[in-house]
Each structure stands twice: as C-alpha cells, then as structure tokens.
C-alpha cells in the first residue's frame, strides 16, 4: 500500500542536552489512524510539534506527499493541508465557538487581505464553520464565548477548529483529555467517520479509544520508537509490555 501522505525520516529534536525526539521514522497513510502512545515525556507532543511546524527539527526530514516540508513555518504547513489540535486547549477564548471555527475556515481563502468585505458575508466560510461545529458535537453552542464553555466543550472546539481548516492530515494531540465519557464516545465515532478522507495521527492516553480506532500503533519511550505495527502486534509485544504497559522493571529502566 502506498498511500503515504506524511512521513518522517530520522526525525530528531534536542532541547539543550535533552533529546526529546530521537531518530523517529513513521508514516501516516490516507484512510488510516496512526496512534502514537507512550508514557509522559516520551516525546509524543514534541513529535506533533515537529510535524506541524510549531518546532523545527534538529535533524531528519518531514515529507508531505512528495514535498519536503522540514523546517517550514507552521502557517505554510497548515496551508499545505496539515491540521492539528493542541493537548492544552489553544483557542480564542473571548470569541464565540462559531467565530473560532469561522476564523479557522477563513484561513483557507486564498488571502484575507480583504479590507472591505464583511467577514460574516462569506457564506461558504460560515457553512464550513457550522459543519465543523456540528461534526464535533457543538451544534447550537456556536454562539457562546469559548471562555464560557465547559472544559470538555472547549476540547470539542479545539477539534472543530482543526476540522474547519479542511486538512488532509489531522494531527490530534490527546483530543479526549478532559472529556466526559459521552463526548469521548462521540469523538471516537467522529474519528471513525473521518478516517476515510484523512490521514490521522493520534496521540492519546485513553487506551480503549486508541485500540478502538487505531489501524497502526507506534509506541514511543524516551523519544524513541520502541515498537510500531498493528494493534495485535503491539498488544502482544514483550518489549512494549515491559516498557510501557506496566511492569516494575519498566520504571527502573528510565
């Protein structure tokens, strides 16, 4: 199968003496959810930041389709079709949920250097924002300032914004963190629906959700890939069990 949309080669990021991500080579394919799991501090969020352009790699390559996007600014990578959500809610708190998504959708216009066109007059942008809100389970909540929404709803706004940019590749950093069971189930269902038209990279701690949606799993420990493969393979891997799924020895190794 060669539907690879996004791949990395030897991706490495150092912070001073700390190597947060070390020699990571992974692939995200169209129509697949690629879940990255690992203990806290394994480098999962750093990996997403390297893919989205929020951080520059110290070494290695990021390739989107046939284009080398290593080191490109985040706004350019976003425009090339890579959307992301943040682990720590990163939205426009004073704006309404609708305006958050509308801004996200507006970013897909060729240019926003339009000084006289009223923002709310663009029906396509508005419709795209509404669709994203509905997909994330926020229909009817668009009018509320995000600051007034519950934590779980803010997490949903985060995902809706990523959707509103209509990406090919979705990088989701712990989308379920802080969500109630009902919202989690909704987002898992949403991911299952989205996967056909997207390549999804999912970082998540909720193992039930991960094993419910993931087609491929990568386990990271200490910035390195420990194991990568199908869910069955990961589940039966001794290395993973020792290092991550919890024996006392795993702790001592760190």
């Amino acid at each position: 199968m060669n539907d690879t949309v996004l791949r990395t080669q030897g991706l490495t990021r150092r912070f001073g003496g700390l190597v947060a991500v070390k020699d990571v080579s992974i692939e995200c394919r169209m129509g697949e959810v690629h879940a990255v799991i690992g203990p806290n501090g394994a480098g999962k969020t750093t990996l997403i930041n390297l893919l989205s352009g929020d951080l520059e790699p110290s070494a290695g390559k990021v390739v989107l389709g046939a284009t080398d996007i290593t080191g490109l600014a985040s706004h350019r990578i976003s425009k090339l079709g890579v959307g992301r959500s943040y682990q720590k809610t990163n939205v426009f708190l004073p704006f309404t949920a609708f305006e958050n998504c509308r801004l996200a959708a507006q970013s897909r216009l060729a240019s926003s250097m339009r000084f006289f066109r009223p923002a709310l007059a663009d029906r396509e942008v508005n419709a795209c924002a509404e669709r994203a809100l509905a997909a994330a389970g926020l229909q009817g909540r668009g009018g509320a300032p995000v600051a007034a929404l519950s934590h779980g709803e803010q997490r949903q706004v985060e995902i809706a914004m990523a959707l509103a940019t209509r990406p090919r590749v979705l990088l989701l950093d712990e989308p379920l963190a802080g969500m109630g069971a009902e919202e989690s189930a909704r987002i898992v269902a949403l991911l299952k629906g989205l996967v056909a038209g997207h390549a999804i990279l999912l970082v998540e701690h909720d193992m039930d959700a991960v094993f419910a949606v993931a087609d491929v799993l990568t386990v990271m420990v200490n910035g390195m890939v420990l194991e990568s493969g199908t869910p069955e393979r990961i589940r039966s891997s001794r290395a993973v069990q020792e290092a991550y799924l919890g024996t006392d020895d795993a702790l001592h190794e760190r």
Binding site: S52, G53, D54, A73, S74, H75, R76, S78, K79, R84, N90, V91, F92, L93, P94, F95, T96, E99, R102, L103, A104, Q106, S107, R108, L109, S112, M113, R114, F115, F116, R117, P118, A119, L120, D122, P145, M161, T165
Partner: protein, 322 residues
C-alpha cells in the same frame, strides 16, 4: 448609532454658536481623535503597542511643508494623498523591521525609529531644524476654477476635519468587520494559533501598521493645515505617549473611546494650564503634575477607560468583541 449621529449633528452645528477659540480647540481635538483612532487599530485591536506613532503623524506634516512652494499654496488634492503616502511608505519601511519583534521589544523599536526621525528633523536644516517649518499659505482645494473650501478660514478647516473624522470612523469600522479585521482580532488574542491555522501573521500585522500610519498621516496633515507650522515635536515621544494615553484613557479596542479620550485629554490640558496662581504657587505652570495625577487616578479607577464607564452606565458590554 443614534448617539453617534446626534454627536455628529452637534459637531456640525457647533461653529454656528461657538466662538472662534472654541471652534479651534474642537478642531484640534478632532484631529487628535483621528490620530488616536489610528493608534487604537494597532494598540486595541491588534495588540501592537506602538510607542512611536507620532512618526507618521509628523511625517505627513513635514511632507505638506516640503510640498508647499514658498509664499504659494500647495494643491490640496495632490498634497494630501502625497503626504499620506509618505506616512504609509514610512510605516511600511519601519513596520517591515519592527513588526517581527514582539512585546517589550516592539515598544522599544517603534520608539527608537520615531526618535531617529525626530533627531533627523531636529538636527538637519532641510526643514527648519529645531524651530520647524512654516506653511505660510494653506493648501488650496480647487475643482476646476472653483474653490471648494478655504483652508485659511478656521470654520472651513473645522468642517474639513469633521468630514475626515467621520470618514476615518466609517473606514475603520468597515475594516474591523472585514475578513482582514477578523485576522487582526485573532492576532491580538492568540497569534501563535493564527499561525497554526495557516495565517502568515507578519504580513497582516504589517498591513495594519501601514493603514494606521496612513491615517495618522491624515491627522498630521490636517494639524499642519490648522496651525500653519510643523516642528520636530510632532514626531517626538511626548506626542506618542500623549496619544497612547488618549487611547487608553478613552478605552482601547473601541472607536469612540479614543475620540472621547482625545477630548478629555485636550480639555484637561487646557484646564490645568489655566489654573490660577494661589499662595505664591503658579498652579497653571505645573499643569503636567496634575495631568500625571489624573493619569494615575484613571489607571486605578477606570480599568476599561471612560468608554467602560459609559457602557456600565448603559448596562451593556463592549460591542467590539464577539
């Protein structure tokens, strides 16, 4: 809206009832209101704390002075666009260098550029040095052979300034509601997120800087028309600080706020300057002391500016944020 229209009508009727002195003060206030609104586009709406905004105000004034032939009048229809273009071009050059900096550095660098311009005009003879340069004959606004208005007449100047105040208000309102305006709001609230949504924020901030500089240029041009003189003070940090105080005092992130702030600021200045002598102390001479005290009080008591007080009295929230 009704309040705005009645304010406009009241301003339009003022010269019919007021003395020359009052009309001239009011002209000055309206010019400062245009200037303050232009700064608020940066300060209140985009979150760019420019401490050198006078550079663009003074530059247009100097442009008019240098475009005016000695003992003759410049053409209003060409000198205004040229002067505003000079301010816009200056804002483009300065903005290109400063807009990539953030926070405290942005404040410092905008101040530094404005002071460089100040000392350029202060220390060189091309425009009268520290004394400034006079515009002896005001620009003439002719259409064909007919003079539309006469800028030698203070009432005409008043109405021209009023028209530009209204135009500035409408223009900014349209811009703020446009696709572009929403990008500015996003930059103010969370620039990093705007980048990750795919907005190249640098060029939007730069465009905003140029628009604000151009409108400041309109104000500076009108000021030179009113007083017939331009000097380095119009570029200096005192004026940059004063206009910033007007914006903050009136209420950032609104258009009416800076206009109110400009009026209060100018009236207080005049009020404190005309304080009498008492007990051997000339209070009027120390007006800046009282201005300082007022600023401290305002900062403590009016966190949202005067517009915040008005809104609270009318029981509604700031409409500019969605």
């Amino acid at each position: 809206m009704a309040a705005l229209l009645s304010a406009l009508v009241a301003l339009a009727l003022l010269p019919l009832v007021a003395e020359k002195f009052t009309v001239q003060i009011c002209t000055k206030i309206m010019i400062m209101a245009i200037f303050a609104m232009s700064l608020d586009l940066l300060l209140g709406y985009t979150g760019l704390v420019s401490f050198g905004h006078a550079a663009f105000y003074g530059a247009a004034g100097y442009a008019l002075a240098l475009l005016t032939p000695q003992y003759q009048a410049a053409n209003f229809w060409t000198s205004l666009p040229l002067a505003v273009a000079a301010s816009a071009l200056l804002a483009l050059v300065i903005g290109f260098l400063v807009v990539r900096t953030r926070g405290i550095y942005f404040i410092m660098v905008t101040l530094a550029f404005a002071q460089m311009l100040f000392f350029f005009f202060f220390d060189t003879k091309i425009a009268g040095g520290s004394d400034g340069i006079y515009v002896d004959v005001r620009p003439v606004a002719k259409i064909g052979g007919w003079q539309l208005f006469n800028l030698e007449d203070f009432t005409n100047v008043y109405y021209v300034v009023l028209v530009f105040l209204a135009l500035t208000f409408v223009l900014l309102r349209v811009i703020l509601r446009s696709l572009f305006g929403r990008v500015l709001a996003g930059v103010r609230v969370n620039e990093q997120r705007m980048l990750s949504l795919g907005y190249p924020t640098f060029r939007y901030k730069l465009a905003c800087f140029v628009i604000a500089g151009a409108i400041a240029g309109v104000a500076g041009y009108l000021s030179t028309v009113q007083f017939g003189v331009v000097n380095p003070e119009t570029l200096g940090w005192h004026l940059s600080a004063a206009v910033m105080m007007m914006v903050i005092l009136g209420g950032m992130g609104t258009l009416v706020g800076p206009a109110i702030g400009a009026a209060i600021w100018m009236l207080l200045e005049i009020g404190f300057q005309s304080l009498p002598q008492a007990g051997g102390v000339d209070f009027g001479k120390h007006w800046q002391l009282f201005m300082g005290g007022f600023v401290v009080l305002a900062a403590l008591l009016l966190p949202n500016g005067l517009i915040g007080v008005l809104d609270r009295l009318r029981g509604r929230r700031d409409e500019s944020h969605e």
